[in-house]
Subunit: 148 residues, 3 copies
């Protein structure tokens, strides 16, 4: 392999590991009910869309409000959710955004009860970087496996 | 740590990340019912064996046919499968093949219904590279946890 | 990005990949019922604590004994466990220890039967290195999601 190929491979591997760490932190924030910090992982004009939602949420205030509604419901019902993202593929686009496709599972545990799979989804993201180089979600589209 | 050790560690990390990306893409192909592209991730003489199958499949035509039969069954039954590979350990062999051991879960969702774990397995692979340096499966052996 | 930033990012990515490989190997040892090898992945004064246990285990002999008791129970009941760690975030501390936070799932399969989620937990580790640079667990704290 030429030096150039080696460098290219290294960069792609680096990027994938960085995206995985970003997702791990992002999911921990949501599952810790840190809704404002969760919303801050989106761009200020970021969009969260899902085929299970009536309409997309745009902007951090709307994204945080959606998370607060969901976490309040879980707390009222004595449920704990853990979001697992995995099987991640990424590609870099000409405009330096990153397209990421992954599987996302929601694992649900009832306090004092059992654990089960709540949902299986596809997560399709367009990621960008803020002025400090940190990854952010610009567009997220979540597709539930149970909806044809 | 010496420079040599650092280089060795880097190479091992690079390889593991590359294998993870390969598996993510490979599982997405299968779950997208892209059976021919799935078969192309095996070498032309590649083998897929599993303790749940009557006999191993050898060669891309046989591997694609097996995938088509499985995906047709899922479509007829209104089921969606997502294959998750994880807990991956790898080692490089003297002949430059790569031995990879991982856990593989099959997550099953019924259209309009719920999500559950269909199967838990061990996946033992021997990986090689094609003439362009791309990873391929030369031997895959899947062992279901429910079969002693 | 400056060279310095690139190096720093590389190091963090390298470390995260190394920790993931360590966890994969460690979980495979436990699930293979290699209880002594599992205990050797802890420091000699390592501690394993969990909110589901009456008291923490300290030292490899105690940690191995705990694993042997658990694996004997599984064998007697015809159950196979697979531990999945994921959604890993890490940070390096001033004393060169590593703090790692991850989700841990226990997937349970009954021989001749079905597969289900046995447990969802948070795993909080302090990792160090032995004299050969290999990662080891110094403190592990596992928090079950079903216990408030």
């Amino acid at each position: 392999m030429s030096d150039l190929n080696t460098r290219t491979a290294t960069t792609a591997n680096e990027l994938r590991t960085e995206v995985e760490h970003f997702y791990a932190r992002q999911m921990q924030l949501l599952d810790d009910h840190a809704c404002e910090e969760w919303a801050d992982t989106f761009t200020s004009d970021g969009t969260f869309d899902a085929n299970g939602l009536p309409a997309p949420s745009t902007g951090r205030a709307a994204i945080a409000a959606g998370a607060r509604a969901a976490t309040s419901r879980l707390e009222a019902e004595g449920l704990v959710h853990r979001h697992w993202l995995g099987m991640l593929t990424i590609s870099e686009n000409d405009d330096r955004t990153i397209t990421a496709r992954s599987y996302a599972l929601v694992v649900q545990t009832r306090l004092g009860g059992g654990t089960s799979l709540h949902r299986s989804t596809l997560c399709h993201d367009v990621l960008t970087r803020d002025e400090n180089g940190r990854l952010q979600v610009y567009r997220r589209t979540v597709t539930r496996d149970d909806i044809a």
